[in-house]
């Protein structure tokens, strides 16, 4: 299987996750090095009605999602030309071990963009750094996620 095709399949799998759909997440970039997702503002994602800002749980969900997609892509990156079925079995065991979210500024905006880069990439565990910005480029949060990948 071509890597670029595998990344596309992966993006599709993650986009079809029920909770990603509930949040309105769209995957806009994915390869073995980095990932990016987007989500438009919606009133039912509000945490604090007086301030009209995203709930902290939505922010953590975006950070975990983009980190998890990249962790999965790092698995693809190491599977040279294996078939899609073996990818699926590898992904079935992929899971988040721990996640730290640092909330820097209120989650205000119309369209949010979360990105991830790999800072540790191993056969068993990988660690990603994530960032969340709004459409004006204001950084809302940082994240660090440790993922079990093998």
């Amino acid at each position: 299987m071509e890597k670029s095709f595998a990344y596309e399949q992966l993006a599709l799998l993650f986009a079809q996750m029920p909770f990603s759909q509930l949040l309105g997440i769209e995957i806009t970039h994915l390869d073995g090095e980095s990932a990016r997702i987007h989500m438009p503002w919606r009133d039912d994602l509000i945490g604090n009605p007086q301030q009209r800002i995203l709930h902290g749980g939505v922010i953590s969900s975006l950070l975990d999602t983009v980190g998890g997609i990249l962790a999965a892509a790092s698995v693809v990156d190491k599977l040279d030309g294996e078939p899609l079925t073996s990818l699926k079995s590898r992904l079935a065991t992929l899971s988040t071990i721990d996640l730290r979210s640092d909330y820097l500024r209120p989650g205000k905006g119309e369209r949010f963009s979360a990105s991830a880069v790999l800072i540790r990439s191993g056969n068993k565990v990988c660690v990603c750094r994530m960032e969340l910005h709004n459409e004006l480029g204001v950084q809302i949060a940082y994240g660090t996620g440790t993922y079990l990948v093998g």
Copy 2:
């Protein structure tokens, strides 16, 4: 204002948060020492369709929510008999500084229960420890949250 009435008002405020309603969160206990919330399983909260388990973002949302409610209650606990309006202005500035989620077991179950206890309670910052269990008492996650309260 009576403390027990203030806790009830607080629980109401949090239960009315749009994202809490989207997740189906119900607040079942709240005082100045501890908090507990519940959430029933729903298919649109799934993270991994093959495994039918909660999305990690849902788990972090539950942990952050129950910790945040307790952080707010700790503010009530220190406001002796002040009116509800002053509580509201204090709560407007309450926010999560950082959150760590430790995912221990797959999020399987029919009804989930998240609880929080205060481990550091200050005038400016408080720190909560959170746990998530399913209806069989299986622990799914741990959380630690640092909240700005003053």
Copy 3:
């Protein structure tokens, strides 16, 4: 090899670590479920001269040390009757992936006690919760550590 003997060997190995000796750490309990270490106060461990309290780095060192010892013991616990040499090769790859320290109260005291329990125990990764108390039972810090064990 008997498990109890393996735990003793492990405690010996950790006690001989140069940095553990620099801090004056003593291992007082170890099995596959929990670990405990002690460290007496020393003036050169001070972080803040005006307050005469332990440096935050000393506190994190104690938390990481007791969690790491327990992570190692969890490996012993799964190696049924294998020889000491195979234990050593397993331990050579044991490492901390990430550590979170929550500083609850100033590090005052004459003798400090750090303990750890396993909250997730796997073949590749384990997660420990740690606590630090002084000789009066006052809790100074909480820790959470994720360790690569296989």
Copy 4:
């Protein structure tokens, strides 16, 4: 008091901390935006004798130290021209709330350099990101620290 003079005084205060001296830490840069410290290798900082690498606690100590110095400098940055005595009273209450260390690669090297940048700077709380490199520019660890500054 001139800011540059205040930063120098601050660097001096931190360099004189007993535990910083025990580790051999030297402060090489400090202003309101960033900080940098150095530490030479020493055999008594070893965590794992077989691998001859820094103990994880030493790494966390370096991360916490450089983040803490920057948190203190951010206080100076907001005290316009106040005398040194008021700085000292502000610093007496400065403390680390929580610290996350991500260990990326073994702590090998002859001279280590830890740096910090502010990612959230408030009147009560600030959050720093830290990095640790060896003399070859290899990154050994990332850190995130939340500090109480007011």
